[in-house]
């Protein structure tokens, strides 16, 4: 499983989520993530149809297909629970 994180330096919710994801990545060492800036990585923003509300987190399975997405400020516990549940996807 891989997580694509979409955010911007000027978005308070994205700034809040940044250290939260860092802690999650420390805890779940197997987790693969990639960050894309909303203003700089426009091709990815369009390709994944991110929309007008950020931050957005897109969850890809082993084959690179999206199986879920979340947006906004999400609780660390809820994220870990979700990631553990879908670890083998």
């Amino acid at each position: 499983m891989k997580v694509l994180k979409f955010g911007a330096v000027w978005c308070p919710g994205c700034i809040i989520m940044k250290p939260r994801w860092e802690k999650i990545e420390e805890e779940l060492t197997w987790l693969e993530t990639e960050y894309f800036d909303y203003d700089q990585d426009k091709d990815k923003v369009e390709a994944y149809n991110v929309g007008k509300d950020i931050p957005v987190f897109i969850f890809l399975d082993k084959n690179g297909n999206e199986f879920d997405r979340m947006k906004g400020e999400i609780d660390k516990k809820d994220l870990i629970k979700f990631l553990r549940k879908n670890k083998d996807k």
């Binding site: 911007a8 330096v9 000027w10 978005c11 308070p12 919710g13 994205c14 700034i15 809040i16 909303y38 203003d39 007008k52 509300d53 950020i54 931050p55 947006k71 906004g72 400020e73």
Partner: protein, 399 residues
Amino acid sequence: MKKKLLILLVVTFALTLVVPTAFAEQYKTVYLTLFYGDGCPHCHKEILFLEKLEKELPNVNVKTFEIYNHPDNAKLMQEVGKKLNQRISGVPFLVIGDETLVGYLNDETTGEKIKQIIKKHSNGGCYDIVGQIMGLEVNGESTECEDKKEIENIELPIFGEINIKNWSLPILTILIAAVDGFNPCAMWVLLFLISLLIGIEDKKKMWTLGSAFIVTSALVYFLFLSAWLNLFLFLGFISIIRIIVGLVAIGSGGYHIKEWWFNRNATCRVTNGERRQKIMNSLRRVTEQRVFWLALLGIIGVAFAVNLIELVCSAGLPAIYTQILSLSDLSPVVYYLYLFLYILIFMLDDLAIFFIAMTTLQATGISTKYTHWANFIGGIIILVLGILLIFKPGWIMFG
């Protein structure tokens, strides 16, 4: 049939005698003294209102004194002012018990306030200070306005006794400014600037550019608020303007409540990509400028322009606040002190974010979850204020 009609007439006549007596017994006499000037349009409006009021409320006793053509009356007015420690700035000057009102906007604002004071004194009673100065005998009425203390003061555990009237406007100022300040739409520019400043090695430049941006933003907002306030002080007595601002407030309150309801994930909404890119490019150019003074002038210019553009983000809050402020009869210095308080609260989150980021060299943000709830609480407050502005403006006249 005739007998029945006679009984009905007797009962009706008896009621006409009994009802006012019962009313008079229930409510104590409230003495109103109006000092006015011949030819003064506001005085004329107030006289018409008081005449109507005297007919409606049997416990109200109105006396009027013309001062332009009657020096004795003008002297009496000065004596009343002295006795009540009031500097009288003009007419119409109304005395109700030991309370005074200078000026008269209209029946919906000042008129409503007069009704409130009368209602308050109808229960507790209040002495006729003008009658006392004139040597008139006032029998059977209390000599002190005792009820005033009960109504206006509340006891709080930590703060002790608090005067509600004195604290209503500051609290309202803080609430509206906080809702306005939590607006993420206006904060994005500062957050982007911080992300650029953190990368600058020259700490002096980093602090100066950031501070200049915040001070200029505060100044633009202060000028904007001052312009609204002066407009309302100049035109505020026109009812239609108050009603329009009331409608804007209802719309703004509705918008905040809608944001709270639909944006439960507390996301940041991306708006106007082209304009955002232009602002971001300008900020990049300024922070990359090697000549310090040019960078400083550049950031002031960008802050000025950006804040003018982003004023639309405030969803009418400055207009709503300054309209309410203009309803209160305050001195010019106090008006501007309130604007200063508004700016201080409005900038508080920006200042906190800036100082934390500059000290820790890490960008920080206020959780959009707080913004989410600020939308709900603020939305309700603004909605209520809008309704009051239209239907009961007297309730939000604090000064």
